[in-house]
């Protein structure tokens, strides 16, 4: 819900930072989060928003360097994609593969 809300409010990209797999304080919390992220990526694709704008990363609280690297990686990814179609209002930026195949 929070992920979807961020895109509704016009965010160009969102990434979720979870604990390393197998090391979650909430046991399977990060694995569940991964599934939720996948679900929201599906919704974004259906809405015509590139699902690449949403990512999930796994890292521990002690991995400051990795965190900075991920932040840079995500910034570059989003910069390459350009502003979200939610803010431009210019229609879909992404067509699902299945739809592309049907159209061919």
């Amino acid at each position: 819900m929070h992920l979807m809300k961020a895109f509704e409010e016009g965010m160009d990209g969102v990434y979720v930072a979870g604990c390393l797999e197998g090391e979650c304080h909430f046991l399977r919390g990060n694995l569940r989060a991964k599934k939720r992220v996948g679900h929201v990526q599906g919704i974004l694709a259906a809405l015509g928003i590139n699902p690449e704008r949403l990512q999930m990363y796994n890292l521990s609280a002690a991995m400051g360097g990795r965190f900075a690297q991920i932040a840079r990686e995500m910034t570059e990814r989003v910069r390459a994609l350009g502003p979200s179609p939610v803010t431009t209002g210019k229609g879909r930026e992404f067509v699902e593969e299945e739809q592309e195949e049907k159209g061919q």
Partner: protein, 223 residues
């Protein structure tokens, strides 16, 4: 519970395309339990629909409500005060809820946001399975507690048929043969000889869908 699942979002978007002000109504009963039409799903779908509209450069006003039930008049009437301010009601209750909305708000279109699938239960978190088709004449006491109407693809009363192989149904190798389940269960109960050798008479389907729409009147409760 009644189990339903969300319609593809593209289908919902097409349904509401000509409206700019809608009510999105969820239900706190069965569809909330099967994570298709509860409060959370109302919030998520509303956000997704607004996002889609913004992408197209259009606005969409959504009034989000989640009723205690959409299958009881008193709760459906809960939106009476503001329903008239909206162009359509998108219900993510089961088919009953959508129809109750349509019956109560005659000048406002009621639209289904879900596909209602079956009466069933959960096997595990996120997995639901059909168990009852509401045939109106329960015979579970004769079939080891396993319903042949639901669990047999042909709803046979004297099964299994020739399509049963290795305990699976010919319709789909992933589906268990309902009659194999019944036989195994009757054996476990020590009732196989007594039950299975006895033929079921022809079923009267008039208590099921074949008899048309069904209504129950309880005179002791009716006011």
């Amino acid at each position: 519970m009644i189990v339903a699942e969300a319609k593809p979002i593209e289908e919902v978007l097409a349904m509401i395309d000509r409206y700019d002000k809608i009510i999105l109504a969820g239900c706190k009963e069965c569809v909330a339990v099967c994570a298709a039409g509860g409060e959370k799903e109302v919030q998520l779908l509303a956000s997704a629909l607004r996002t889609a509209r913004k992408t197209a450069g259009r606005e969409l006003e959504i009034r989000e409500v989640t009723l205690e039930r959409q299958c009881d008049p008193e709760y459906v009437e809960g939106i009476r005060g503001f329903a008239g301010d909206y162009q359509a009601i998108l219900s993510i209750a089961c088919g009953v809820g959508v129809q109750y909305m349509a019956e109560h708000y005659k000048t406002i279109p009621a639209l289904p946001g879900l596909n209602t699938l079956f009466m069933g239960g959960s096997l595990e978190q996120g997995v639901w399975s059909e168990r009852c088709q509401g045939c109106g004449t329960c015979i579970l006491h004769l079939t080891g507690g396993i319903c042949p109407v639901t669990r047999c693809a042909k709803s046979l009363f004297n099964g299994p048929c020739g399509g049963s192989a290795h305990g699976k149904c010919e319709v789909d190798k992933e589906i268990e043969c309902g009659w194999q389940l019944i036989i195994d269960r009757l054996k476990e109960l020590g009732e196989f000889e007594a039950r299975y050798t006895e033929l079921f008479p022809i079923k009267d389907w008039s208590t099921s869908r074949d008899g048309g729409q069904r209504t129950i009147t309880r005179e002791d409760l009716k006011q």
